[in-house]
């Protein structure tokens, strides 16, 4: 979109002419990728590096702003008439004009299965601006350890590619755990980078042959661990077993990124939940407020269901809630909270 056109479409005149709809509703007639401020895109390429993953290259519209390394987005796609939203880490370097994500099949997850099995180039996707503090540094440390397992490799790729693109690659050990070589995403790309970049040391571990991560393997592969800043990402079990190993070996910063909700306290609540607008009451006993709303037949928006995306934000008129991640109990009034990571800790009235 030409800047002048965008300016005109964003003006209050355009808004008044479109009221009560928005300008985007009319732009959709030309191309649903167009929008005055929402980032959206189309899938340009879908490559299957391993049998149970797919790497998507997405061409965003020009509302997309470049992400920082290691950030994630909330990715929305329409399947069978329903818009699903999921969080994915961006794998590409931040200065690329397209964005790349890799999705691994995840049990019976509707979205990941669809993407791995059926997604085709050309499909419209809804994006959000990238978020996340996985990589807070402005400049790379002297030495780094990138330690990942499974699909935890994607934010690592983005950090690594960002360093290479900026020509600032430090001394890096990239240690990755996959089940077998066939399951390892980005294996070819990493092999190539390791050949080209003398300061990149690649350690691939295949759990079916080498076993899980242990103190010995870590000591052998990264003897100078205490001199490295570490980035850690992977499934909850992996992260939980690695954290004590790191704690025992280094006092340098460890940055963690986790896309699983195991850290969430078991969701049980108490009290009564009253959904004010729909005038339904439910017991606050089982599950997060999001789950209670759904059981009561309501249909609030959600994305990640683990407190990352903020799609489930909703106003609580009054009540006592417990944060399922920190277990903290709060009395609140007229406050927006994320329904998916809060349970009732007493009576709660929600504007839904």
């Amino acid at each position: 979109m030409k800047p002048i056109i965008r300016k005109a479409l964003k003006s209050s005149l355009a808004e008044s002419l479109a009221t009560p709809l928005s300008v985007d509703h009319y732009l959709g007639l030309i191309d649903s990728k167009l929008s005055v401020d929402e980032p959206r895109g189309r899938i340009a390429e879908a490559t299957r590096q391993t049998p149970d993953s797919v790497t998507l290259t997405i061409e965003p519209n020009d509302n997309w702003t470049r992400p920082a390394p290691g950030q994630h987005i909330l990715f929305g796609i329409d399947l069978d008439g329903v818009r699903h939203r999921r969080c994915f880490s961006i794998a590409g370097a931040p200065d690329e004009n397209s964005l790349e994500i890799t999705v691994k099949r995840n049990g019976d997850g509707a979205v990941s299965n669809f993407l791995v099995d059926n997604v085709e180039p050309g499909q419209l996707v809804y994006l959000t601006h990238a978020e996340g503090e996985f990589y807070p540094n402005a400049s790379p440390p002297a030495r780094a350890l990138l330690l990942s397992a499974g699909s935890g490799i994607t934010p690592m790729m983005s950090i690594l590619r960002a360093w290479i693109a900026a020509d600032e690659l430090p001394d890096v050990v990239f240690m990755h755990y996959a089940r077998t070589s066939a399951d390892m995403i980005y294996e070819d790309a990493l092999d190539r980078l390791a050949d080209e970049q003398p300061s990149l040391e690649l350690v691939k571990r295949f759990t079916s042959a080498d076993g899980r991560i242990s103190a010995d393997t870590l000591d052998a592969a990264v003897p100078d661990l205490d001199e490295r800043m570490t980035w850690l990402c992977g499934p909850a079990g992996f992260m939980d077993s690695v954290q004590p190993l790191l704690d025992a070996r280094t006092t340098k910063p460890v940055f963690r990124e986790q896309f699983e909700s195991s850290r969430r306290e078991a969701a049980h609540g108490e009290g009564e939940v009253h959904f004010v607008q729909s005038d339904v009451a439910a017991s606050g006993d089982d599950g997060s407020l999001l789950e209670i709303a759904e059981q009561a037949g309501l249909n609030p928006p959600y994305g990640c269901r683990m407190g990352i995306c903020h799609s489930c934000k909703c106003r609580v008129t009054e009540g006592t809630v417990r944060n399922l991640r920190s277990n903290e109990v709060q009395d609140i009034r007229d406050t927006d909270i994320q329904l998916c990571i809060h349970a009732a800790a007493g009576d709660v009235a929600i504007e839904l």
Binding site: L17, P20, H25, G28, L29, D78, D80, G81, V82
Partner: protein, 370 residues
């Protein structure tokens, strides 16, 4: 509740269970096709709006003015009836598309969506045709039931009806102010804050149709202005006609508060069926009515996507027949005739209050399911 005498408690409960099952079946099958349907309606509405407004800019030519007004009317009708009304009922919430989200959708109408969701979704759909509870019964201007006290002012109600039809969206906008409760159990402060919301919405609507678009048209302003006015008028009259056919035909039944106390779910369904009336028509007709030609189905399942009412209509009718209940349907002309008759009859004081069982058991003397 007061209900047809030929149905036992068990019959009513069974009826409720059958309807629940029907609802379940449809709601579980929602998917791609439904999404395709509503997106097609959205695109049609937006195209016809743009084309209509563009043609009105050439409104100095009579055919362009006529075509422009017609297209804009179609667009406004589609937006109000099939899109706005139904989206604000939550029919499309399952799609999780923010553009169709009942929590945020606001329609092209002087009545703010929020207000409307209270007066319509809540008050009218819960207390359908209960005199004294459902303020849609006569919109507190008209007498539509014997149970409403007659007053000489009602003699002129055929006239009020014409005014209401012409300015229907304004009537709807002011409806939730509930002026008859003012100073009694409703405070002026509450009404004032509502009034402010309404004023905000009204200002935007008026600015768009009567100031900005005419101004943009420069010398064509008068044609754009009159075209917009005509389109709003057409939409008002059309929605008025459809809505009055939905609950005020001859055989649509009215209820008294005492009859509906501690209703079960089955009894609630029963009242929705007896209080609503359908209009027969073609598919395009139903789309233009927002599928309110299937008023009975809509009242049974207000949050079911409207395109499905066509499919369940015959099933609901079959259920009615099995339970020997009146499935109130007919061609537009007949239903409208019934509405006119009711309006005229109720203008006069000649009817005494209804007593005894509800009329539907008078139409149907046979026992349920012989």
């Amino acid at each position: 509740m007061g209900r047809p005498t030929h149905l036992t408690d068990a019959d009513v409960e069974q009826l409720g269970a059958e309807l629940d099952a029907l609802r379940e079946e449809v709601m579980n099958s929602l998917g791609k096709e439904d999404a395709r349907y509503i997106y097609r309606v959205l695109n049609t509405q937006r195209f016809s709006e743009l084309a209509g407004r563009a043609l009105l800019f050439a409104g100095i030519l009579p055919p362009a003015w006529l075509a422009g007004t017609a297209l804009l009317s179609v667009s406004k009708i589609l937006e109000n009836m099939e899109i706005g009304h139904n989206a604000m009922h939550g029919q499309w919430d399952w799609m999780q598309d923010p553009a169709l989200d009942s929590a945020t959708y606001d329609w092209d109408n002087t009545c703010p969506g929020r207000e409307w969701k209270h007066s319509h979704n809540y008050m009218h759909h819960t207390y359908t045709n209960i005199v004294g509870m459902d303020r849609d019964v006569g919109y507190s201007i008209l007498r539509m039931s014997e149970d409403q006290k007659w007053h000489p002012a009602f003699l002129a109600q055929p006239l009020y009806v014409l005014v209401l039809a012409a300015f229907f969206q304004w009537g709807v906008a002011l409806h939730d102010l509930e002026w008859e409760r003012l100073g009694k159990d409703k405070s002026y402060a509450e009404a004032l804050s509502q009034g402010r919301d309404i004023w905000k919405k009204v200002r935007k609507q008026v600015l768009k149709d009567y100031v900005l678009f005419p101004a943009l048209a420069g010398p064509m302003a008068p044609f754009v202005f009159t075209g917009n006015m005509a389109a709003n008028f057409n939409r008002n009259v059309w929605s008025f006609l459809i809505i009055f056919c939905g609950h005020f035909t001859e055989q649509a039944e009215m209820f008294r508060i005492e009859e509906t106390e501690s209703e079960t779910q089955g009894e609630w369904y029963l009242r929705q069926m007896l209080a609503s009336s359908n209009v027969n028509g073609s598919v395009p007709f139903h789309v233009m009515t927002g599928h309110l030609g299937y008023q009975i189905e809509h009242h049974l399942f207000p949050d079911m996507p409207s395109n499905r009412y066509r499919e369940i209509g015959p099933k609901v009718q079959a259920i009615c027949e099995r339970y020997n209940l009146n499935y109130n349907t007919g061609p537009f002309s007949r239903q409208l005739g019934g509405v006119a008759k009711r309006i005229l009859r109720m203008a006069l004081p000649h009817r005494r209050k209804r007593r005894g069982p509800m009329p539907s058991s008078i139409h149907h003397k046979q026992p349920a399911r012989a």
